[in-house]
Symmetry: C2
Subunit: 220 residues, 2 copies
Amino acid sequence: MMDPQKLLQELLKISDDDKDITPKQAKIIQAAIEIFAEKGYASASTSEIAKRAGVAEGTIFRHYKTKKELLLSIVSPMIIKFAAPFFAETFIRQVFKDHEDKGFEELLRKLIQNRYEFVKNNVPLLKIVLQEMAFHPEIQQAYKQVFTEKVLPKFKKMVEYYQDKGELRNDFSVDTTIRLVINTAVGFMVTRFIVMPDYPWDDEKELENTIQYIKDGIFS
Amino acid sequence: MMDPQKLLQELLKISDDDKDITPKQAKIIQAAIEIFAEKGYASASTSEIAKRAGVAEGTIFRHYKTKKELLLSIVSPMIIKFAAPFFAETFIRQVFKDHEDKGFEELLRKLIQNRYEFVKNNVPLLKIVLQEMAFHPEIQQAYKQVFTEKVLPKFKKMVEYYQDKGELRNDFSVDTTIRLVINTAVGFMVTRFIVMPDYPWDDEKELENTIQYIKDGIFS
DNA sequence: AACAAAAATGAGTGATTACTCACTATAATT
DNA sequence: AATTATAGTGAGTAATCACTCATTTTTGTT
């Protein structure tokens, strides 16, 4: 099992990941994503992955010591990528510059729209993450670390800032407010792309209504 | 694969299920629930289930033709049980009796509190349902059928009724309103019992805040 | 063209899998 | 008490699993 501290360091250099990758390795990754998403990690066999990738089974184990290492190489980068907006240097700074501050609503709208596009473009991968997180402590811990150390502190500052400004209600605790906002936003995307992907969604309407719903629920 | 129509009929007589069950069979079910929840259906072996149940492996296959049949015998009853409030004859009737009508808020509060207790008492089982629904079309279809035929129609009537009464905002469509309410309620329970079960929750506060949040988000 | 390094191969391996079946133990019925 | 029916057993089976490794193919350097 990987040391969480090392894992975070590992994650931060994901930009290097794409470099020394062979064409066959890329095919393996693509096939693995598809099959893991279709039948789950435990039910996916390395032989089937190799077959779909058009590669000998041994080739998989040239690049990845174990099947689990293949899973982690796919899942791990998503941790940072999903939380990416909160890693941006400019993100928080912009919020607190009064002359640029367009209020919590606009910030929230930008954030949700941005993550909505991200989810839309990474459905199979996020399916894998959601599924396998339940059974792999390494993945859980890595996400927990990123969330508590990177996402949560910035989110807290945001909510506190707008609560002090009187823009957000203060009869909800900061933690509760964050939970409700994230639940609503994530819930929307899970419903939209995983639970009912075939429903004839009016995406623009649902997005705007979701934002309105959050706004009326947490604004003073 | 089971015919969905038959499955629903099967489900409606769950009260009979508990009858002709042997002690060893009960041990098998209990062990299966534990192990399915711990490591997932695909990673759970029948030999391990038999071992934990204190039973010979062959005994499992006396009672269940396949491992999957064992899973379905565990998961299927939860479909009706989770939607149980919507099956109650009195449920809707009470709502529309004006002299008993205490408003959407009280109805919602009762409903969420009730389902909150249910989830609390069935965490491992619901974990299995959430996990395995993704990979077993029979489970998906059964839930879809119960939801669209039993839950959704009643929910729709409720929302329409209170929208007409002017209690609920009508700039959200009925479907969107339902989605937001269910998302928020389910999201709360998933966060509370599955994502962060060890967080020191103030359950009463979170429940009340969640209801307030919904109320402010969908009331006019 | 010759060589070395890296990438890819696929038959082979022991372990584990869901499931079978001939058999025994227990319970119910006469 | 005898007979039948049901419940339980556990060694056995073919299939599949993740993974290995000796060998071949491809790539890069001179």
